[in-house]
Amino acid sequence: MKPTASNRLSASQKALQSIRQRRLQPLPKWHLYLKKSLIWLVVIFFLLILSLGISLTLLGMIDNLFTPYFWFAAVAIFLFLSYFVLDQSRQAYRLETWQKVFLISLSTFIFGFILFRRGFARRFDNHLETTVPYYRHLTPLKINTWSQPQNGLISGQITQILSDTSFKLQDFTHQTWTIDYSTAVIRGRTQLVIGQEIKIIGRQTGSDSFVANEIRPWIGKKSN
């Protein structure tokens, strides 16, 4: 390289000199792809959590299964995190803030709704209830209310139809009960079929037997 007329190197020449002295190389493509992939993996992970949170919030609100506040708070936190990480992606700057928020909200709401409709939210909620001790404290469950056989309240899933007046019920603690419903009032759209989830008002007659006075569907109105 030739120095300039004033015997000083230009910024270009100094930069090239520095590149050569320090033996710098362009970062390899895999390094850049890895960084971009990591960003997108984190975004997708947060969006999945967000969708799950939305589905569980819907479960809590529509099903009146539990107070949805915990999951609502989780949705808010992951919405913020998703936005923040998405903003690190290459093209994100072309979108206005409201567009990014709208895209995240719309896609996760749709996916969350699908998860809810597919019953995934309920299964996940039940799984959390049985495996995570703190979960009960964070999401007060209607299950607790309807799992007091000693107080005449029981709930669960019908597992076997024994006769026109009795069936087997597995409650949410996996205990099996024999339910006598010969004198029970069956509310609304309750269907006594295998697999149906129901809640029962009545009285306990034995360690695993119960007489029903009223049977309601598990997914009821808010007043239930």
């Binding site: 910024a11 270009s12 100094k14 090239l16 520095s18 362009p26 290459r90 700057y93 206005e96």
Partner: protein
């Protein structure tokens, strides 16, 4: 020097060649060094040595991230972005406020800016032109930088969006507000 003269290659070709031979990168740097120096002189008020350092560091940064260059973007926009960010970081570290340093006799810049803010040409005189710098220095930095990019660097909205990494709608809003504030300052100061 590269075996082939630099001028026969466009920016994208030079980027591709630079990935394997750094000498071609010198062609790219020399192509933009003068423009970038002038841009920084209008954007920040720093000694020439600091300007040169910023440009040097920007070039090294650019070289390191050549593989990350997206061909859908104009190379000049990408390079301006790197230089802009480097300058902003430099100012933050040195805690200097951004001032501008440009030639008030630069008629093209002044005239196009005056026309854009709808200041009556009859009221504009040589005296006023010298105060353009004062007015610009009173503007908020984000307004000043878009005016410099638009009216002196002659960048379009798309390029400004790519350089500043802001949505085009935001760029349009910034330019509109910048012109409005410029005119307000002009009328307040009664030049």
């Amino acid at each position: 020097m590269p075996s082939s003269p630099c001028h026969q290659f466009d920016d994208q070709q030079l980027v591709h060649l630079s990935l394997t031979d750094s000498q071609y990168f010198l062609c790219l740097m020399q192509r933009y060094e003068t423009k970038l120096t002038a841009y920084l002189n209008r954007f920040v008020y720093l000694p020439s040595e600091d300007i040169a350092d910023i440009i040097q560091e920007s070039f090294i940064n650019t070289y390191r991230h050549l593989g990350d260059y997206n061909p859908k973007l104009k190379f000049s926009s990408w390079l301006y972005r790197i230089v802009h960010n480097q300058a902003v970081n430099f100012l933050k570290k040195s805690r200097l406020t951004r001032q501008i340093n440009f030639d008030p006799e630069d008629d093209d810049f002044t005239s196009s800016l005056i026309a854009a803010v709808n200041i009556e040409q009859e009221t504009v005189n040589q005296h006023f032109r010298r105060h353009v710098k004062t007015i610009l220095q009173q503007l908020k930095p984000q307004y000043r930088e878009v005016l410099v990019l638009k009216y002196f660097e002659d960048k379009d909205y798309h390029e400004i969006s790519d350089i500043l990494q802001k949505p085009m709608g935001t760029v349009a809003t910034l330019i509109s507000r910048a012109k409005h504030q410029f005119k307000q300052l002009y009328e307040t100061n009664r030049f």
